[in-house]
Symmetry: C2
Amino acid sequence: MTGHVPGTQREIRRRNLSRVLYAVAGQGPCSRAAVAARLGLTRTAVSTLVEELLRAGLLTEQGPTPPGGGPGRPGTALALPDRGPCGLGAEIGVDHLAVCAVDPRGRVRASTRIVSDGRDSAPEPVLARLRELVDDVAVRAREEGLVPAGLAVAVPGLVARGTTTVVRAPNLGWHGIDLAPALTGAGTAPGNEREGLPLAVDNEANLGAVAELWLDHTRVPRDFVHVSAEIGIGAAVVLDGELLRGTRGFAGELGHVPVHPQGPRCACGGRGCLEQYAGESAVLRAAGLTADGDRAAALTALAERAARGEVRVRSALEDAGTALGIALAGTVSLLDPRAVVLGGALARFAPWLRPALERELAERTAAPEAAVELLVSQLGGEGPLLGAAHAAVRVVLDDPLSYVASRVG
Amino acid sequence: MTGHVPGTQREIRRRNLSRVLYAVAGQGPCSRAAVAARLGLTRTAVSTLVEELLRAGLLTEQGPTPPGGGPGRPGTALALPDRGPCGLGAEIGVDHLAVCAVDPRGRVRASTRIVSDGRDSAPEPVLARLRELVDDVAVRAREEGLVPAGLAVAVPGLVARGTTTVVRAPNLGWHGIDLAPALTGAGTAPGNEREGLPLAVDNEANLGAVAELWLDHTRVPRDFVHVSAEIGIGAAVVLDGELLRGTRGFAGELGHVPVHPQGPRCACGGRGCLEQYAGESAVLRAAGLTADGDRAAALTALAERAARGEVRVRSALEDAGTALGIALAGTVSLLDPRAVVLGGALARFAPWLRPALERELAERTAAPEAAVELLVSQLGGEGPLLGAAHAAVRVVLDDPLSYVASRVG
Ligand SMILES: [Zn+2]
Ligand SMILES: [Zn+2]
């Protein structure tokens, strides 16, 4: 009775195709009946959707198939394919570049990682090197029967919302760099597979957060603050399973929350920001280590000395935990999340950060009914890269019709 | 082709009826053609929806109606009615109670307000008094041809998400008080109109924020942080036009964000919370005024002395502005809102808070591209009450089918 609403039927079909894929992704190989029950759709409706997804190669059928059983028999189990579309994830780190390919089942099927000093680097050589790594992983993914369906890149900086432009990545020294021309633009390499590929660029804390949400969902709730660190400290806020991006895409700048308002000057222009107390160089300095040389070696030394119980190192990490706890207490008061997840480099140092951090949180977010859970990431430094690759493959699961159309077109 | 999805057609109809109402609400009296253009629906579809809303009394037709023109003529303008459903809003303040009724056009048609010392008060007498005020306003609304369709109550405290229970209202001294039995339960008064009425209870900062969003939408964007103060300091976060509630409903506790982590003890258990610097009693004390007696008189004295330029008063407000700026700088770094709106009692003192507040924000949220707009509420202390009444009437606009069903049933 509401008349003709253009696109609505197609929209419902698109959404239902996506819901079927996520139902299978969520429960593993399962019958049509199980999908129907889970989604509250009829068996007939699910069968129609499943046939379309089987034709598109976005679902496969697995045994047990009784003798003589053809495709579509009720007894066969539906599964996501280990061939077909894959997501390419890339990470531009301050001291490394990494790329991986994830299949629709969420498994990493090819990956590579190199040391690369990105501090105050010119973007073009870094992006040229990243292109080679992406092409290399894409070729290896093709050998596995996978076709790159999208590329997502994690960067240690701010990305303008809805764009592929790095507005500011202080540790790389990049300002206003659009990654699209270099990574997926025409002519970046003869016959390359990246040309025209859907490209997403996002902050590493954001992609680390969605990795927690998608890959550790039995443990990580749908409302949480994810704190991560590379050189700076970043956070991502996930609300009801969705990233809070902020109007400009700059949400989550936990590193610049004031902790001691009259404290030392920060590069952001403020004073006494969290990074001045819990950032990598502040902690290394307080621990008596230098951050000038090999970062990875310095962090390993920090962890080893902390494990041995060196007083100065323990005290540096405890102070960092206190500062984190003060900034996070404010964050929890504002956002009332269910959990705080320590990710990235912080996960590694959690044993020594945690007591002070928890004490501040407990004292400053008083009411027992507001208690927040403190979780330590199990993905650690791998989170952003995995999040990127999963984000790229989920574009297909979110919108199977566009994927089908892109293969026809 | 997606099979039978139960409820979908009804859901689309419900949503389209609601969209028609908001289209008329948004542009004022307008033709069916204007509604169709705005919503991207066909004229035929809109005519069908409009007929249904006219029958339900949720739309009316206004001139110019040419002689002989019957209802439904294309030339008539559609408008929301000034009769039919109304929303009742109520506010439990620390020193007052207030109630008003708002018609579907958003106009206040009846209201009342009394002085009532709620500090450390037993809930039952306060709620009994509020019941009388609600009944009084409801009777006056009926005399205007309006029928109460819902009641929403603003409280100075935390409300458990999705419930009518005040978990904690420190200045009232209330803990774990469910308002439903006293306000809309059976037998609260013989033949009362509140029995069974849909009831919503929400924090006053939240309702103040939606009032800004709904009533001042030419000025206030859809992503903002609304800061308000009665005795405590509260905030509400609005993202893309929706309140961020937090997992337990406790989001927005800006008053307990640490400003000077080693500062004075706060009732929340923390130290150096924003309330210790910018809360009402802290500011009055710093200004050399007492907060023990008549709050309204003390605040008026504060405003008058500030206007006269008394140094101690100006300095107290400047310090409060600085503390607000520090806490809000952290908030802006985390959430990247488009604007910060100073509401409630803060609106009145904005001229003296603002310079220091803006200075802190500018220094601590450095990048020009992240500049946030600072707005002063034009609703001030009226915001929460208006927000409550509008929330109650919008339940009908959001779901006209349920309203129609409730009138039949
Ligand atoms: Zn800073
Ligand atoms: Zn406090």
